[in-house]
């Protein structure tokens, strides 16, 4: 059915470029129609993207990319415009296409000035993020990765709260700092690949095949990891996040939490494990990452619990959730990685919805202070119900999306590092400790403030926004198998690749590893001439 329209051939390109078409259309249209156009275009993207669910078949090309296509872009550098998805990126693409129209719909009342530019930027952001998740070329990836900064910078800086400039600059500089280090690492990797194969290429599949010495891996790993750690953010690189979230307008927060943070964790899964298998299972590295993840889980939960500002509270909970992702990934087993992936999806949905709900409260009361609310269940029961369900999904109640991911991630972490897994499991206690008091002080307790007693319940538009999100939370909680089975082959491939490198590289004596991996190289790369290898081997010592 889908293939009748040769869906597989054009879908990814249209997902990337339709937002740009929409952006141009929005910019050319009158101010008051901007939001409807933006909503329309992003809905088109959403509807089109839904076909991916069926178009992606986990049973074929196991662990590889699908729907992929490649066009030469900058031939001299070997940079190509190639797109494709696998079991890891498909859900992030879908998450993006889902959250964008919802965030746009959620900003109808919130955004009152310069609407045209705002919606154009939202579409530009969608373009960038889908690009990040579909790119199969490191150069293209980097371009998209950096490009997402620009719309977000303006969204925070123009439509944000009081300290918006500070937050926007902090967000921009902090994340740009990290990604510049990554750029250096990318260039090194590229040059290294060029020397080895003689053919310049940024394509993932080519880069994944080059063999690096453990020392190189550690250094490159650090550069990549820092960039992604800031983006995720992992403790202690998280301080930009609360500021950005608090100042950002509701739709900005939604997209930031639901999608932008995932670019960091996606980077971990997509690059760190396949590119640097030796480094990523080096005991010290694993220990550092796991520890940071656990500290993030516990520490962020504590900090969240004492926040007077509801939005800041939710922002800190993001850090805690991302901690679960990190420990899941660096558990380096299938359960952990699948759990981490599912936490990413679930966090996107539940935390995104929490920000939407807080935005709705802000529109009604013009405050984010938890103390200014109280007893809202009496006057806005539907809003309160949605809030409670979302909060419970966020703290991982079984039957909601949060549980499945956390359970698998914790189980995975526990399998490889019982102590770390055990410590991380205390996160379930602290999750209740930060979330329930907030729910109580906003929605329960006496209705003792006059302003609160006039609050309106959910409007029809708001119900339309919340309904799909809440249904998804329940669906993933009750029947996550369709998600898990789609991501399984890709996850398995990554894990197997990491494990295979153990036999290749003995972690004790890691100086001249590269020699033992030469046969591998010859198998993988087609057009090597022997002199190049000899040169490379001779120059190896100086490189190290």
């Amino acid at each position: 059915m889908l293939n009748f329209f040769s869906y597989n051939d054009w879908i990814l390109h249209s997902l990337v470029w339709i937002p740009i078409v929409g952006m141009v259309h929005v910019l050319w249209s009158p101010e008051e129609r901007a939001k409807y156009l933006a909503l329309g275009w992003s809905t088109v993207v959403l509807v089109l993207s839904l076909g991916l669910w069926w178009a992606y078949d986990p049973a074929i090309n196991i662990g590889g990319y699908q729907l992929s296509s490649s066009h030469s872009w900058i031939r001299q550098w070997g940079a190509s415009y190639s797109l494709g998805i696998d079991g890891i990126s498909i859900f992030l693409v879908l998450l993006t296409t889902l959250t964008t129209p919802i965030a746009i719909l959620g900003s109808f009342n919130y955004i009152t000035k310069k609407e045209k530019s705002f919606y154009a930027l939202m579409l530009l952001l969608e373009f960038g993020v889908i690009g990040v998740f579909t790119a199969l070329d490191l150069f293209l990836f980097y371009v998209f990765f950096e490009m997402t900064l620009i719309p977000m910078y303006f969204i925070v800086g123009i439509w944000g709260g009081e300290r918006r400039i500070y937050a926007a600059v902090k967000f921009f500089l902090y994340t740009a700092f990290g990604s510049l280090l990554m750029l250096v690492a990318i260039l090194y990797l590229y040059l290294r690949a060029k020397t080895l194969t003689g053919v310049p290429s940024f394509a993932f599949i080519d880069l994944f095949q080059i063999s690096l010495s453990p020392t190189e891996q550690i250094w490159l790993f650090s550069a990549f990891a820092l960039a992604f750690a800031i983006k995720v953010p992992i403790f202690p690189f998280h301080t930009w996040l609360p500021d950005a979230h608090v100042e950002a307008p509701t739709p900005g927060s939604v997209v930031l939490a639901a999608v932008l943070l995932k670019m960091g964790t996606y980077g971990f899964v997509r690059f760190l494990l396949p590119l640097f298998p030796v480094a990523s299972q080096h005991p010290t590295v694993v220990m550092i990452m796991m520890t940071l993840g656990v500290v993030g889980i516990i520490y962020a939960a504590w900090v969240a619990a004492v926040q007077p500002d509801a939005k800041k509270l939710v922002a800190y909970t993001s850090v805690a959730h991302m901690g679960f992702v990190v420990i899941g990934i660096f558990a380096l087993n299938i359960n952990g990685l699948q759990g981490g992936m599912l936490v990413m999806i679930s966090h996107g949905i539940s935390t995104g919805t929490l920000f939407l709900l807080l935005g709705m409260l802000y529109e009604r009361r013009h405050t984010r202070e938890i103390e200014d609310f109280g007893g809202l269940s009496l006057v806005a029961p539907w809003l309160a119900t949605a809030f409670v369900i979302t909060a419970l999904a966020s703290i991982g109640l079984p039957g909601t999306s949060g549980f499945v991911g956390e359970f698998l991630a914790l189980l995975g972490a526990f399998e490889s590092h019982p102590v770390i897994g055990g410590l991380a499991t205390t996160g379930v206690i602290f999750a209740a400790y930060y979330m329930l008091p907030m729910v109580q002080r906003i929605h329960f307790n006496p209705l003792d403030k006059d302003k609160n007693s006039k609050i309106q319940d959910l409007s029809r538009r708001e119900i339309i926004i919340l309904a799909p999100m809440i249904s998804l939370m329940i669906w993933i909680g009750v029947y996550p198998t369709p998600f898990l089975e789609r991501m399984e082959p890709s996850v398995k491939a990554i894990i197997e690749n990491v494990e295979a490198s153990t036999s290749l590289n003995d972690s004790e004596d890691n100086k001249y590893e590269i020699i033992s991996s030469v046969p591998e190289l010859i198998i993988h790369t087609s057009n090597i001439d022997d002199n190049k290898i000899a040169d490379h081997l001779n120059s190896d010592e100086t490189v190290n």
């Binding site: 520490y299 359960n335 009496l378 029961p381 539907w382 109640l397 019982p418 009750v478 399984e488």
Partner: protein, 713 residues
Amino acid sequence: MSNINLIQETGIGEGWEPLLPGLIILLPLLGFFINGVLALWEAKKSAAIIREGNEDTTAGLNSSKAHSWPGWIGPGVIGVAFVLTLINFVRMLEGEASEPIIREYWTWMATGSLEIAAAIQIDQLAIIMVLIITGIGFLIHIFSVGYMHGDPGYPRYFAYLNLFIFFMLILVMGSNYPVMFVGWEGVGLCSYLLIGYWFDQEEKASAGKKAFIVNRIGDFGFLLAVFLLFTNLGTFDYGSIFARGEEVFEYGGPLVTTITLFFLLAAVGKSAQIPLYIWLPDAMAGPTPVSALIHAATMVTAGVYLVARSSLLFAMAPVSSAIVAGIGVFTAFFAATIALKQYDIKKVLAYSTVSQLGYMFLGVGVGAYTAGFFHLITHAFFKALLFLGAGAVIHSMHYALHQTHKDWDAQDIRNMGGLRKCMPITWITMWIATLAISGIWPFAGFFSKDEIIWMTGSIAGADNAPYPGLYTVYWVMALVTAMLTVIYMTRLMIMAFHGMNRTGSKEFGHLHEAPKHMWIPLVVLAVFSVIGGWINVSKDIQQSFLGGFGNIPMAGWLHHWLEPVTESAHHIQEIHWGAISHSAPLGGGEVAWGALSTTAALIVLIVTVWMVRSDKISVATEDSDPRGLSKVIYNKWYVDEFYGHIFIRTLQRLSKFAWRIVDIKIIDRSVGIVAGGMRALGWLASLTQSGQVNTYAFIFTVGILLIFGIVIF
């Protein structure tokens, strides 16, 4: 639903065919959805009224459909579920199958290395639990129709209650630990929602929150235990775990001890045992039928169910079992002392529940899984009855005080007295429950409690008992606690129902017997509080005068019934502990001690009646503050305050420290310092930019000269 293959594979089909087991679970869920929709509808209307500034939200709403339907739907679905269960139970009795029936509905989670099915398991243990849950649940639903009538959140109440039954059924019917965990947390959620049912009162909302957070500590233990099981056995299913447990784990080894201790943590949280019992007394903030259903009869017994379900693991870990028993008996004693000095009728019952749960823990801890489970059953009857009776009393008191606008506490037993005249049915049924909980022959509690105490004593005398001295101490404490139980319950009954009425003459006229909806469940429960114990009379007692010289038809039935579930655990225990003794530590057989304990209980009862002297009691507002030891007991040994200081405040301080110092002052500031450092460097460099052309020219010249110098020399 591809369940047919599965049944054939495991070859269970021979015994019996269950009738729609999934429907038993689905019906309460259906009720939840219908009532939930009604509740949302209702809430929307009352919200509109509040927004207009009208205080009385009940005005004009009671007559609406949303207020008459839930009263039918809520109990209705549970009633049908109960009937279904009963049919299945009868079939199971006839089928005499020992293998559990497993129905697998869909794959819940599956990664490459694990597979968890959304599957239910019906076996002897589960079906009894389901009977209790749906049966007592049904009665309590009916009671609630009367009790909650006129409450603005009527449909919401039934929605929560149905949801609770749904999760509770998942808890007991799940065929693997993760599915059990769904129910485990789900009942916690419902408990949270129902404790904080009147959410607009801060203390009630806080009590709900406290229950949830404390329960989550237990959930943490559950998760870790399950993880440990998985890493060692590679599965979550009961069947494979218990089949392979014996070969994988070493008897008394550290691994199985750790697993069982984590399970114990879970059980302690859910079943309100020391040190996590603190949430249960606060949970009395919820409506009284909720206390009866969740916080007495069903949910809090989940911990006992967990231990009974995992009996094989506990049998292999004698240390954990001893700790289970120790926690149980100590909690039983400790809570009983607190109950002695409480005045709130529900608080007394709450501590009594904690205490009785302690007995159940003692039972399962000493390896008498059937006895512990037996007490769970009888306790469900008489404690539900006590709570519902208390509910009837509170309902009546509340009405009377409301009629005369008297600002008194409707739950304080000092404000009651003489109620037997106006509430005869409640009075009689509650006395039956009191006699049952006091362990007086031939009421239900006698047989179950006696068996637990007896088993404790005989374990102490077993051939190779691991800690005979310890078990002797447990035995003595259990006996003492039994007497304390008699005291606090008799005190409650005398103060509430006997002597002169202290409510006030005007109010006394308004006190009335509970309506039909409410007293019928009381009577039904009272009947079971009498005969409920006869299903498991031990052999010695059955043959003696206490057992009617062998005329009780179902004696020893439960023991036999649960054998498929507990036999392997008993087997392990027999191998390692040897034969248990047939006399108590001080000598004497089971019949002698049974007769002695009943006599002692009766004597204590009479002494208590004489001691309480209800004419000397003053009402709550005029009563003097307790002093000395009774003050300490009245304030519950100050445990809440202790926890507040040690744990909660520390955690809050840590949190504030993490935020104000670590996050703002250290992490964010160091980010700021890096950024500031960059600015400082920029500023330094900008110093060279004087703006004076001459200076630039001078530097330029010097530079050229330097370059020349370097090139030339």
